[in-house]
């Protein structure tokens, strides 16, 4: 620990703390543009200038002590940047002296002279550091009588990111992000001095899977998401902390919504999972929740046609259909996208019916060494821990075989399309019972005997365990459409219909049951998981068998969508 004087008060900070962070921890926020704690420090914006001093050394090379017994500080005549130095023993900093204020005013003035001051039409308005700091640290009057430097506007840097060079304050955060985090050195500055502009080489654009993080870290409105641009003013948006469910990494997110519409997902810092970043694929993967193909009403197949029914009828019908069978006559194709709570209830159901043929569908895709996992299921580890699967997908051929041979009479498909596991449409129609719980209609839905419409990741609560064994929480950001219902409730009702009341009234009750039975969850509750999650399993990278990914309809739709964007 080092003793550091911040604005007159001595405090202690661990070795290696950046001065700018130390000041913030001490309650003296230092404004900054170029500094980002996860990136290198170029020290180029000069916004974080403060006064700094080191202990005055006596003739014996030991710090001189003042009347208060503390080191006397030798203040440096020039202001220093606080973003590139770590604290040192006996260091002193002043963050709000007249000199510091003057520096901040000076830098703000310089940044604004060539900046288009059209905040009312800028997309960043409301979350712009330039706007914020100019109120706090700037002067209101402009002394700039010259013509502003003209630069390109509306430059498409890549398929998802648009650049307005006139707003760019050349902080180089985006360049450093691409070099240091995305490992895709595509952005750079061209020209010199005041004419410097950010750009990409026309032949190699910003199209890596992490490109949208540059939009998050751009302190001004220079980089905008082509997707979100001008769609909505940020101050109208409601923010919900959640996690991305598009792969096993489980990046922590904030879902921004308004009136049950999702406008964007942005990463939320969690050093145990995703640092400050998320991939574009996961970030943009929410449109399907607003798809035309959403299942909105429970339906049962009666006689020779579907009938929309109410929930009690649908549940009763499903239970009725399942009751005659047990053991090897029933198969369940579950999903690695289900939450722990859902998987737990499914496991109860399976036990009640003595079901052996149960597995989840493995879902893989190319991963990278950054965040994106080859395992595209968010909760494979949960399915393992709760005994739904030991090797994801291993039992699916057995199930398909058993369906084909006619041994299986009743099939449940939860969030997955059994046709993708090798079961033919004809075999599906031969089943006595085919119960589907899903959010989107797919090729199998029309052959179901019962359709139970459920909710997507942003519409429900629950927990998952990511590829590294971290238990994390989903939160509801929007309400589900139509009559679709929370998956855990559907499963609970089905379980009750088959086995009688079980005392589960809330999702908390489900978690309590789990925590009593599963040692890894002992002592935990949904609320104890907290925003940042809890490590519950040994870090285990999910295996990535080089098999052709079983791509469900959702994923196909997404693939088409993202590829449409990126190429």
């Amino acid at each position: 620990m080092f003793n550091v004087q911040v604005d007159g008060v001595w405090r202690q900070f661990p070795k290696g703390t950046r001065v700018i962070e130390a000041c913030e921890q001490a309650g003296s926020y230092v404004p900054r543009y170029c500094y980002h704690k996860k990136l290198s420090s170029p020290g180029n914006c000069r916004m974080c200038l403060i006064e700094m001093g080191l202990p005055k050394l006596g003739p014996d090379r030991k710090p001189e002590l003042g009347a208060d017994g503390k080191p006397v500080i030798n203040w440096m005549p020039r202001p220093q940047i606080s973003c590139a130095q770590d604290v040192a023993e006996g260091m002193g900093v002043r963050t709000n002296s007249p000199l510091v204020k003057e520096c901040q005013r000076g830098v703000m003035e310089f940044l604004l002279i060539n900046h288009p001051l059209d905040c009312p039409i800028c997309d960043q308005a409301g979350e712009c550091r330039l706007q914020e700091f100019s109120v706090e640290y700037g002067t209101s009057e402009s002394r700039f009588l010259e013509n502003k430097v003209k630069k390109p506007k509306n430059v498409e840097l890549g398929p998802r990111v648009t650049l307005d060079d006139e707003r760019c304050i050349l902080c180089s955060r985006c360049i450093r992000f691409c070099q240091e985090i995305a490992k895709d050195d595509v952005l750079g500055f061209v020209d010199r001095g005041s004419n410097t502009v950010l750009t990409a080489h026309p032949g190699k654009r910003l199209e890596n899977n992490y490109s949208l993080n540059t939009v998050d870290i751009c302190p001004v409105g220079a980089l905008t998401s082509s997707d979100f641009r001008f769609k909505m003013r940020v101050w109208f948006l409601k923010e919900t902390k959640s996690i991305c469910t598009s792969c096993a990494t489980g990046c922590n997110t904030v879902i921004a919504t308004r009136e049950d519409m999702i406008y964007r997902q942005t990463p939320r810092e969690n050093d145990a999972v995703n640092s400050c970043w998320m991939c574009d694929y996961g970030r943009l993967n929410f449109d399907y929740l607003q798809s035309e193909r959403r299942l909105l009403e429970p339906r049962i197949f009666l006689g020779n046609k579907f009938a929309a029914v109410d929930w009690p009828t649908a549940i009763a019908h499903a239970a009725l259909q399942l009751k005659p069978f047990s053991g090897w006559e029933i198969a369940v194709v579950a999903s690695g996208r289900m939450t722990n709570e859902e998987l737990w209830l499914m496991a109860q159901l399976a036990r009640a019916l003595d079901v052996q043929l149960i597995d989840i569908v493995a879902r893989t895709g190319p991963g990278d060494d950054i965040l994106l996992s080859t395992d595209r299921n968010p909760n494979t580890n949960g399915a393992r821990l709760l005994g739904i699967t030991s090797e994801p997908g291993a039992k699916l051929p057995v199930i398909a075989e058993a369906v084909k041979s006619g041994r299986v009479k009743a099939l449940m498909a939860l969030g997955e399309n059994p046709i993708d596991t090798g079961i033919s449409v004809e075999q599906l129609s031969n089943l006595r019972a085919f119960i589907v719980m899903d959010i989107l209609a797919n090729t199998a839905t029309e052959h179901a005997t019962v359709v139970l419409p459920s909710l997507g990741f942003a519409e429900k609560r629950g927990s998952t365990i990511n590829g590294k064994g971290r238990l994390q929480r989903l939160n509801r950001a929007v309400r589900g459409p139509g009559n679709a219902r929370d998956d855990w409730e559907i499963l609970r009702d089905l379980l009750q219909a088959l086995t009688g009341s079980n005392g589960i009234y809330s999702i908390e009750d489900v978690f309590r049951q789990m925590s009593e039975a599963v040692p890894q969850f002992a002592g935990l509750t949904l609320s104890k998981i907290g925003d940042l999650g809890v490590q519950v399993m040994q870090a285990r990278e999910s295996p990535s068998p080089p098999v052709d990914p079983a791509v469900s309809d959702i994923e196909k739709a997404e693939a088409k969508k993202t590829s449409g964007r990126s190429r």
Binding site: R46, I121, N154, D164, V186, H201
Partner: protein, 646 residues
């Protein structure tokens, strides 16, 4: 090409980017998009990494120049000697509209319609003593008569002026041989005149001893900052594990400075010997000479000198049988003043935009080239090393004045009769002696108005100022004297005490015919053009100051302007990454402060009411995709194809 790549450590191939760009441009005339991609692929880089360089370094073009390419110097001393008129006449002779001025934009070259000729205004060519100058192709033309441009273009021949013979007030060490009738620059002449003897002596000395001689000598850097050289060298740890590099800073581009060019052109082996001795002292196995791109001849001369020295085994493997392997390489810049700043230079040498580094933590002696300990010294400084070994540090220290030892070359340009360079004992000559005796005094009928004493970055001194200067006597006591500008001794401490600096030794003399707003505007244009653009205050402030002085010059000055200028300067100096901040702020601060009447008389208009904010609704403007940069296509490339070689 592979030889060029081989000059850098294999893991730092990127360093070869500038050399390859030079090759490409020499071969194809300009850097096409194919060139960008080809070089990127060759060096395992991304195209953007190369595009960043092409657009940063003004010497690289993205479009073809004319068959004859003329670069006219536009910076202060040349401008004072008529380079703007030269440019106008050239334009007319070649057949351009007189008004085209692309200077300051990325493509500053104007090509004549027939493609035969192209012209470009460039910043200081480091030949201010023979202003105005221009380069035709690779050849420098000095003392050009603005009125004889037609001959110049049709009959280009080098007119390098013969160096002067020493003035009696001079004390020549470094320039000892320059100007001698029998002096040639080959190694034999050098050896016949005692050359490389000091290297042989240094081989027998220990590292510590050489560094100690340097410390005793009191030698201060001649590149600008005046930092004690021996102290700098002793920052290198004796037990350093990483490789140590020595870089000779031959980027000489501070306006008003033109000494390093002559050393390189007239006595390259002296520099080489200084470098090799310094390598021994520092245990540096590799030295790079970073020479500015506008010195193509200098680069060739040095390459030749290195080859000659290699034949004599002064460098290379087991140099002089000492068991010490040492290599010296030339690295050419490409026209950016900021490459003179030592950390900018290092970045440039690493194949990047010359963005100076933050200090701390990137002190070159600790984290320099390739993040290894690196010593950067000026050409002249390294030449002095040889003389210190020859004389011994103590003897050398007797030259000059306490804390201002040895000799140094001062370059005088501007409004004097005999501009040029003079090697003086530091502090043994006063400003008055320099101007009136050595440089021949002012032009007939003119009076001294001001002096910029240490390169254009130094604060200006007004002719009628009184300066309080402390003199340290030999017994250590200090006497304060009040003196006129003529009495200021030409040494580091006196010029600092006078409120300016000795800087790079470039003295620019201004007589009473000079308009200070015009002068400052010329200086401001230099800094606005040369700011690397990395950090906010300098990037924005340098251009702003230039825009104000330009507006004042054209009659648009408003009453607030002098104050605004002054505060812009205040907001830059001391707040930037590198000392360019001071370099660009000091002229403005000092000019406005010292010539208030002249500035006030150009700033008479009332301040206009604030302009309404520009509302251009982007939602309404049609979505346009601007190609990020227009990249020229090279027709020759088609034939060569991507397998082509250069």
């Amino acid at each position: 090409m592979d030889e060029a790549i081989g000059r850098y450590p294999p893991e730092h191939k990127r360093s070869a980017a500038l050399p390859l760009l030079h090759f490409w441009q020499e071969h194809f005339g300009f850097i096409s998009d194919e060139g960008v991609k080809w070089i990127a692929a060759k060096l395992d880089l991304q195209p953007i990494n190369i595009l960043e360089l092409v657009t940063f370094y003004p010497m690289f073009r993205q479009e073809s120049a004319g068959k004859t390419h003329v670069r006219v110097c536009r910076t202060l001393s040349c401008a004072m000697a008529g380079s703007y008129r030269l440019m106008e006449n050239l334009r007319e002779a070649i057949g351009f509209e007189p008004t085209i001025d692309n200077h300051g934009t990325h493509n500053p070259i104007s090509v004549s319609p027939d493609g035969n000729c192209s012209i470009e205004f460039v910043e200081c060519l480091a030949s201010c003593g023979t202003a105005p100058v221009c380069m035709i192709g690779e050849k420098l033309h000095e003392n050009v008569d603005p009125n004889s441009v037609v001959d110049l273009v049709s009959n280009p021949q080098s007119v390098i002026r013969n160096p002067q013979s020493p003035h009696p007030l001079e004390h020549r060490l470094v320039f000892k041989n320059i100007g001698r009738a029998d002096w040639k620059i080959d190694i034999d002449t050098y050896i016949d005149n005692g050359g490389y003897e000091q290297l042989k002596k240094a081989v027998t000395m220990s590292r510590v001893d050489i560094v100690n001689e340097l410390k005793t000598s009191g030698l201060r850097g001649r590149g600008g900052a005046g930092f004690p050289c021996g102290v700098k060298w002793s920052f290198i740890k004796p037990d350093e594990k990483k490789p140590i590099y020595l870089i000779c800073n031959a980027d000489e581009s501070e306006p008003g400075t033109f000494k390093d060019r002559y050393i390189i052109h007239e006595d390259p082996h002296q520099l080489l010997e200084g470098i090799l001795i310094s390598c021994l002292a520092l245990d540096a196995r590799t030295a790079y000479i970073y020479i500015r791109g506008e010195f193509p001849e200098g680069a060739k001369i040095l390459e030749r000198a290195i080859e000659e020295a290699r034949k004599h085994n002064f460098l290379g493997k087991n140099a002089l049988g000492s068991g010490f392997d040492v290599e010296v390489y030339i690295h050419r810049g490409a026209g950016a003043y900021i490459c003179g700043e030592e950390t900018g230079l290092i970045e440039s040498l690493e194949g990047k935009r010359a963005y100076p580094r933050i200090k701390p933590p990137y002190f070159p002696a600790v984290l320099g080239l390739y993040l290894c300990p690196t010593i950067v010294n000026n050409v002249e400084t390294l030449c002095h090393v040889k003389h210190i070994i020859a004389m011994g540090g103590a003897k050398y220290a007797q030259l000059g004045r306490p804390n201002n030892t040895g000799t140094r070359i001062v370059c005088v340009s501007g409004d004097v009769q005999r501009p040029g360079y003079f090697e003086i004992e530091v502090g043994a000559v006063t400003m008055g002696q320099l101007i009136y005796e050595m440089a021949g005094g002012l032009k007939p009928g003119r009076m001294l108005k001001a002096v910029i004493p240490g390169g254009s970055s130094a604060k200006v001194l007004r002719a009628d100022e009184r300066f309080k200067i402390k003199d340290r006597q030999s017994d250590g006591s200090i006497i304060e004297r009040e003196m006129s500008i003529d009495e200021i001794p030409m040494d580091f401490d006196s010029l600092t005490a006078a409120g300016s600096m000795a800087g790079s030794g470039g003295v620019i003399v201004l007589d009473d015919s000079r308009d200070m707003v015009w002068t400052l505007n010329n200086i401001n244009e230099f800094y606005a053009h040369e700011s690397c653009g990395q950090c906010t205050p300098c990037r924005e402030g340098a251009l702003w100051m230039k825009k104000i002085t330009e507006r004042m010059l054209h009659g648009g000055g408003v009453v607030e302007d002098p104050r605004t200028l002054k505060t812009i300067g205040d907001n830059i100096a001391g707040r930037t990454i590198c000392a360019f901040g001071e370099a660009c702020a000091w002229p403005t601060q000092s000019f406005v402060e010292k010539f208030p009447d002249e500035f006030a008389s150009r700033a008479a208009k009332p301040v206009p009411p604030p302009l309404p904010p520009e509302y251009i609704s982007e939602e309404l403007t049609e979505r346009e995709t601007i190609p990020t940069t227009a990249l020229a296509h090279d027709p020759g490339w088609e034939k060569a194809g991507s397998a082509g070689t250069i």
